[in-house]
Amino acid sequence: MTDRRRLSVNTIGELATVRFLDKKIVDSGNIEEMGAEMFSIVDADHLKHVLLNFEGVEFLSSAALNKLILMDKKIKQAGGILRLCNLRAEIMEVFTITRLNRVFDIRKNESEALKAFGAS
């Protein structure tokens, strides 16, 4: 398993549950690292399904959104499913304004998301 500084990753079979270690996902260098660490879940660890749990995340910029879009494409190419959960109201508003709530499968909390994966 890859060493990670921006994310913590737990695996349940083919599913990776991911938490962010930064409260604010805004620093350009950190966003690049975060992207590389996310992509390695699919490319290096060969996990198909990913749940991104945003608990504790207070802010994210559009550069971070771009990494999520790339991650979604990567997972779809691998035949997997990406889900997001625990988005605070302000971050959910960003997804609504940008209409990215139509691209991503967003669940209220982790247990709801795990149920959707059939992994509860």
């Binding site: 805004v26 620093d27 350009s28 910029s61 559009s62 879009i69 304004i97 940008t98 139509r102 691209v103």
Partner: protein, 145 residues
């Protein structure tokens, strides 16, 4: 945009470097916190500031080490003003495709300008398109019944 008394202000020119930009935005967030800004309003301010700064450094100045970004913040308990001016060629914001269109929904650029427009009360670009000024009014607290 607005000529009035402000509780805190900052006016600096930074090199084309996002780290310097983040440092100034942290100062802005701290000043807003001190003035009682929180929640959604504070989030909107950070979003608009970050997107405008990154656009100025990376798209405007294209990261050129010999170019600078002029940044101005003026804040009060009820409103805040921001200005970012780069030394690039400028752009036409109305010519950008709408990132919310189905054809562009999964593109990985173009959301910053739209987020700024949605989260600020007033946004103006100069004719050249290398300067953006923004005004945000804080949401009034709910009245006790």
């Amino acid at each position: 945009m607005v000529d009035r008394a402000w509780a805190w202000s900052l006016h600096e020119s930074i090199p084309s470097n996002v780290d310097d930009g983040h440092r100034l935005i942290e100062q802005l967030m701290s000043a807003l916190n001190d003035l009682g800004w929180d929640g959604r309003d504070l989030f909107h301010m950070q979003m608009a500031a970050e997107e405008a700064m990154v656009n100025a450094v990376t798209h405007g100045n294209k990261g050129a080490s010999d170019k600078h970004v002029e940044i101005e913040f003026k804040v009060a308990a009820d409103s805040a003003f921001m200005r970012f001016r780069d030394q690039g060629e400028g752009f036409c914001p109305s010519a950008l495709p709408d990132p919310r269109d189905d054809d562009h929904l999964e593109c990985t650029n173009g959301r910053g300008v739209m987020l700024i427009k949605e989260m600020m009360n007033q946004v103006q670009y100069n004719d050249r398109g290398n300067e953006v000024t923004m005004l945000k009014h804080r949401t009034p607290p709910p009245q006790d019944e």
